[in-house]
Amino acid sequence: MAEVEAPKLPSGVRKKLMFVNRKAPHGTIYALEALEVVLISAAFEQEVCLAFLDDGVFQLVKGQNTQAIGTKNFAPTYRALGDYEITRLYVERESLAERGLATADLMPIVHEDPDDADEEKPSIQVVGRAEMATLMAEQDVLLSF
């Protein structure tokens, strides 16, 4: 989607970066722009993961079709994250439930696991609110969208 620039950083710096997605897609541009940064971040060889909570969970709903509103449909890009070695998408269980959503309503997103003969593994992990809070507390940087 966006051009990748060569990182100019002291070598060996490896931070835990979490992108925190809390907004519904399409009504505002934040979901799209978060995805742009996520893709760029892949070039920096950091430990990147994504969190989807509150209305952010709507970003992963399957079957999105923006043709009739005339905007760009970036939903398929989530399925390409595995190719960028971004393999951890944490989705908050309570956020899904409040919105009448089940895991089956989400896009299937997978990645190949190099530690397991490149077997396809699911990238989405549904976690409870307390576990989401714990995951956030384990990061070096939280980037909020």
Binding site: A24, H26, Q64, N65, A68, I69, N73, R99, G100
Partner: protein, 102 residues
């Protein structure tokens, strides 16, 4: 002398839809557009409030915005109708005034 109410934000994120539903009158229509269409889903934390409002006034969702969010008619609370942009214009023309709950 009825009113068309439009709401464009998710009820899970903003108070606009609930506030609008608290101000509708018999004969009014309320149209959910943009991110508000998720408020028309069945089995959400707000479904009971929306269902109660459907007994007072006519509820609509904008179909193009519905499709963008991966939703279809089967996901909607019973009684909510879909319209396209032309239907939005018709609703605005039919009612005496438009209140945009921004």
């Amino acid at each position: 002398m009825s009113t068309l109410h439009t709401v464009n934000k998710s009820p899970f994120e903003r108070a606009a839809l609930i506030s609008a539903l608290g101000h509708v009158r018999p004969g009014d229509a309320l149209l959910m557009i943009e991110d508000a269409v998720v408020g028309a889903r069945k089995r959400t934390a707000f479904a009971a409030v929306v269902e109660a409002a459907a007994k007072i006034c006519a509820l609509f969702v904008l179909a193009p915005d519905l499709a963008a969010r991966g939703m279809a008619e089967k996901d909607l609370i019973e009684g909510i109708k879909t319209v396209d942009y032309g239907g939005f214009v018709d609703l605005a023309a039919k009612h005496r005034r438009v209140q945009s709950w921004l």
